[in-house]
Amino acid sequence: MGDFFSNLSLGFGVALTLQNLGLAFLGCLVGTLIGVLPGVGPIATIAMLLPITFGLDPTGALIMLAGIYYGAQYGGSTTAILVNIPGEATSVVTALDGHQMARQGRAGVALGIAAIGSFFAGTVATLVIAALGAPLTKLALIFGPTEYFSLMVMGLVFAVVLARGSILKAIAMILVGVLLSTVGTDLETGEERMTFGLPFLADGIDFAVLAMGIFGIAEIMRNLDHTETRDVVRQAIGRLLPNRDDFKQSYKPVLRGTFIGAALGILPGNGAVLGPFASYTLEKKLAKDSSRFGRGAIEGVAGPESANNAGAQTSFIPLLTLGIPPNAVMALMVGAMTIHGIIPGPQVMTKNPTLFWGMIASMWVGNLMLLIINLPLVGMWVRLLKVPYRLLFPAILMFCCIGIYSINSLPTDVMFIGFFGFIGYMLIKFGFEPAPMLLGFVLGRLMEENLRRALIISRGSLETFIERPVSAGLLAVAAILLVIALLPSIRKGRDEVFTE
């Protein structure tokens, strides 16, 4: 317990310096600014804004990036509530009731409760990370390559189960992602694989380039397909602070949402995505009058938004303790950390405690900043949302180009975002969801490395994965999950959750 407080105070000592406070503020502000644009999710936002952190020291850069991440998340919710265009999967649920509230002239309250719920969830999640960080890091030390490999397999199975639409397509996407990660020089033998002899492919495909193409450029192309029907609320935003009745209705959903989101966020394989859905379904089940849902029920905003933010934050845990990015956003964080010379994993906490605890403390600071900047700035976001898409997307396009060029100073990188953008567009047209592919790509290299090591230790015997108890347990969970997801009755329920 004493450790817990001394660690947190060390963290706050770092996070509350004037410079780092400023960086967290700036990060939240630009993150929201970009994240609020329709069709720009957190992944594209972070990839676009990554270069602006290059000149900073590692701690400052990570604090700013975390700020950008929260800002982008909150910006997505703002867009969902005001325009009914969810920027990413997690704010789909918010759009359901949030936008209805906005149409009833209660946009301010919806945004307010979302911000307050998120802040509460963020505070709890920060404490959870601080409490679990140290023990989980110790757990990581007993993990060998065999366990790591099985854990990642489990993560990928999670991603398959959580993906929308056909399971077969999700599996195919994961496999393609892992396959893409093997492009480039083989680390063990130094031989080039599938590079077409092109020198810029020798280091493999850059993750930021792939993510920007699939999530930034493809999204632009997809939006251009549809004639614009943006439904920006015309009603007044209304008062921002929820009144006593609102609070009374929403404090329980916030508590439950925080708990669900925080628990799911820890799971590898993008469990955070499930949080808002689970919270919404639960609130609907618990409500006395479930017909209010979908017509502007405040619980339908408060719960999922809290779950969303709690999950967004606890998904840092697998990254910081085990070095495994549980989703694409965290994979970008890995990229950012590596640029600053930090390799994520259990050793960060022991080798670099000021950075580790400073970043955790700054998560709370970032949540506070969001509360402070977002509520007064709502008017500005509304104005930004009224800019027609035909002017927005060329600007987004140029920011993407500049952003990706600044990472490696390679014109080929810029061309590749166009190429992957088209691939992403094709995938969407053929009904594939790109998110599992990205996760497969992220984990691919780590998986190959650990698979190799595990097999060397076991002298080429695949049985090692079921002989070692921890590994066997993880694989069993993965197998059970997959079977459950394939059962017809559960499948139906799963489809309902996602179509709701």
């Binding site: 060029y405 567009y425 097999l455």
Partner: protein, 222 residues
């Protein structure tokens, strides 16, 4: 959002193919698997004890191919979505804008040809104007004003404030300014000139088509 589905919606396709989208998806996966197998054909697979470079890619490719085949097979058994209509205007101009940016940001040579490195000063507006035509609602005037105001903003932000190593303008430009000016001063002056030009263009063309187009009310709902 659903205007596109009109033609392909409720009527189920006749013939043996019941899910055209899955046929296309399956074919793409099989093709990808074949490509990967062909690319790794000369590489050593090794043994489980000492995996060679081709082990994982090859088995992954086989798995991808099998998923593709399964998807293909399912397309003849289960009903599924029809293929959406393709509109190539978007992708073509968006990619065009991106390629224009990539080719002009710094000298880029392929074979004997080398493109001039023009820096953000030209690459930015090129990306905005070419990319902007991806929608049929594009208007040159708006795109020109947008590029003339956003580019100097980015030049100042990335080149001046953040000091990123991104080429901002061609070297020849420095010749136009007094020789004792530093790079930063040239950058700021150029950005200022562009911003002023943006304002002039905005003011000069403002009155011309007033009445017929109401920019603020374009989406019809605000």
């Amino acid at each position: 959002m659903s205007t596109l589905h009109e033609g392909a919606g409720p009527d189920r396709p006749d013939g043996p193919v019941r899910a055209p989208q899955n046929v296309a998806g399956g074919l793409v996966l099989v093709a990808l698997a074949a490509l990967a197998l062909w690319l790794t054909r000369d590489l050593d697979q090794g043994t489980l004890n000492a995996m060679g470079p081709a082990m994982l890619p090859r088995w992954l490719a086989i798995a991808v191919g099998l998923s593709g085949l399964a998807l293909l097979a399912s397309a003849f058994i289960k009903h599924g979505d029809a293929l959406e209509r393709w509109n190539l205007r978007g992708p073509v101009f968006v990619i065009g804008g991106i390629v224009a940016f990539a080719l002009t940001i710094r000298p880029f040579s392929f074979g004997a040809l080398t493109t001039p490195g023009l820096g953000m000063l030209f690459a930015g507006p090129l990306a905005i104007i070419i990319g902007g035509y991806a929608t049929n609602e594009a208007r040159l005037r708006d795109l020109v004003i947008l590029s003339l105001s956003l580019t100097p903003f980015c030049m100042i932000l990335f080149g001046d404030l953040l000091n990123l190593p991104i080429p901002v303008f061609p070297q020849a430009l420095t010749g136009l300014f007094p020789s004792n000016w530093s790079q930063k001063e040239v950058l700021r002056a150029t950005a200022a000139i562009m911003a002023v030009v943006a304002v002039i263009v905005f003011l000069a063309t403002r009155g011309r088509r007033r009445g017929s187009i109401d920019v603020a009310d374009h989406s019809g709902r605000i």
